[in-house]
Structures are given as C-alpha cells and as structure tokens.
C-alpha cells in the first residue's frame, strides 16, 4: 500500500494543486490520498470522478490529524522536502518498503513532520513543486514500471496516437 498524505489543504488556494497531487498519486501507482486542512467535497469529487472513469483502485479521504496518521501508520513514512536527503542516496532502501506513507506539503509544514517521519527526502536541492516531487519519487520508486500500470474497472482508456486523440470505452 502506497498512501500519499497532503498537508494543510486550503479550498480556495490549493484546489487545483491538491487535485494534481491526487491525480499524480493515482496515475503513478499510489492507492490513496489522505489530506489534512479544510475538508473539500469539490476536491474529493474531482478525484473520484477520474477514478470512476479511468479505473482504480484509488481512494481519497480527509483526516483531522497528520500527526496521528503518521504515528499510526503500519509501515514506513517519508516526507518529501527540499531540505532532506537526496532521493538518489536512499531509493534502494525505500524500494524495499511495502507500506509507504509519502507526506507532501503544504505551504507551512509543521516542524514535527520532520521528526515524526522515518526519512526526509529531497527531489533535487532546488525549490519546485510537491506535484513534481511526488511524480518523480513514485517514478523512481517503481523504476518506471508505473507507466505501464493497468487500472481496474476503467470505463475508458487511451490508445496512444502519433497525432490526435483516441479513447476507447464509454465516453460520458
């Protein structure tokens, strides 16, 4: 089980970025997005709508406490942060972890997250994006095999084309 924990969602400001976090989590092989901050039914509907159309399994849920989730997690947890240890130094160890919780910010990450997670991991030592960091981390974790992942109960799927768009299955 790979679960992504998105910290401190704010409906107004983060709706689209949190949606991208959820879609990247799903597309790159995680099974779940948990988010803290403001509960947002619009965010949940956006993600569930993609899972309904393009397949799963993938879940999204809100949590009141990141700290409890991290402490109660049955497995290992990492926090993706520019300040952490370079992913290329730890990825061999991390690939052996089966139940992995991946924590991503959030504008302001509470200091205890740095302490509570098993590892703080950086995807480059440059400021960029939790969406980009999550995508590259999962791509490294799965060694690129996630790009071939089959999704269950998909109502539609893309057939790759040199030009234009081809989708087979039910188009709503």
């Amino acid at each position: 089980m790979i679960c992504v924990l998105r910290l401190g969602h704010r409906i107004e400001r983060d709706k689209r970025l949190s949606t991208h976090c959820g879609l990247v989590a799903r597309a790159f092989g995680a099974q779940k997005l948990v988010y803290t901050g403001q509960k947002d039914s619009g965010l949940e509907e956006s993600i569930n709508s993609v899972t309904n159309g393009w397949g799963g399994p993938f879940q999204i849920e809100h949590s009141e406490s990141a700290r409890k989730l991290i402490k109660d997690w049955k497995g290992k947890s990492i926090h993706l942060t520019v300040y952490g240890i370079p992913v290329q130094e730890k990825i061999r160890t991390l690939r052996k972890v089966r139940n992995l919780l991946i924590v991503i910010g959030g504008e302001k990450v509470p200091p205890e997250v740095y302490q509570d997670c098993d590892w703080n991991i950086s995807i480059s030592q440059q400021p960029h994006s939790e969406v980009g960091a999550l995508a590259v981390f999962l791509h490294e974790y799965f060694r690129g095999r996630e790009l071939e992942k089959k999704f269950r109960k998909a109502q539609k799927r893309v057939v790759p084309q040199e030009r234009g768009k081809k989708v087979v299955g039910q188009t709503p």
Copy 2:
C-alpha cells in the same frame, strides 16, 4: 537549450500551477519558460525571484503566439499529452535532441499543437498533471543527472539533512 512552452495561462486560475511549471522546468534542467495566454507580472516575479536566490541561468517570458514559437523553433518540439506515444518508447530518440521545445497545456490545447509539434508524447496513459508530466519527462531526458545540477550565481543553497533545514549563503 531546453525550453518549456506553457499554453494558455490565465492569471486567476493558473497562477500557482504555472509557477510550479516554471519551477519544475528550472529545477529539472530547462533554461527557459515561455508562456502564452494572459501576461502575468506576478508569475514572472515569482519565477525570477527563485532564479535570483537559487541560481540560474533561467528565463521566463510571455509570447503572443504558441504557433509561431513552435514553427520558428530551431530544433525539435514535443507536446506532452495523455494521448501521445508513451515516453518509454521515444526517450532514446529524444535524448539525442539538443534544442528541445517541450509544450505543455493548458486547459484546452488547440488542435494545431498536435500537428505542429514533432512528437506527441505521453507520460502514462492516465490523466494527471502537466507539472508531474514535465518533471518526469525531464528526469527521463537527463537520466536523473538533473538532480545533481549546479546552478550559477546562487545566493543560497540547501545542505541536505536527515532532520530539519540547513541553508547556506545569503538568506534574505
């Protein structure tokens, strides 16, 4: 020269996502972000501020015409789209291209972009994020070496830590 072309920026709706596109472009080894749509001095300042603090070279500029930019590009161009050919099938060819223009949407991508670019490339056949797609593409293109990239004229840099934050150099 690797240049990213972000299509159809809208100030209100896309500010943060376009900022993430620019930061990912810079952090993962591109030299430039060009964007079409609404000219946005706030977006440009956000990106330039990161480049000033963390180093470059990296530029951002607005363009009136994506089509002209793609047609006039001296090199090859790709369009990242869920409908394209899987990146894992084309990456060996693409790594040989030195001057690469990488086009990313945008809510609605005009049909001519699919025609004008040399290749349409998908990062998985699942809907996710232009930020995630750009990060993984550049990570594949540079084979992970971008994670070690040194930036010029950086006023500060991160020193990786197991816990907490360490930045050396001028902190504003």
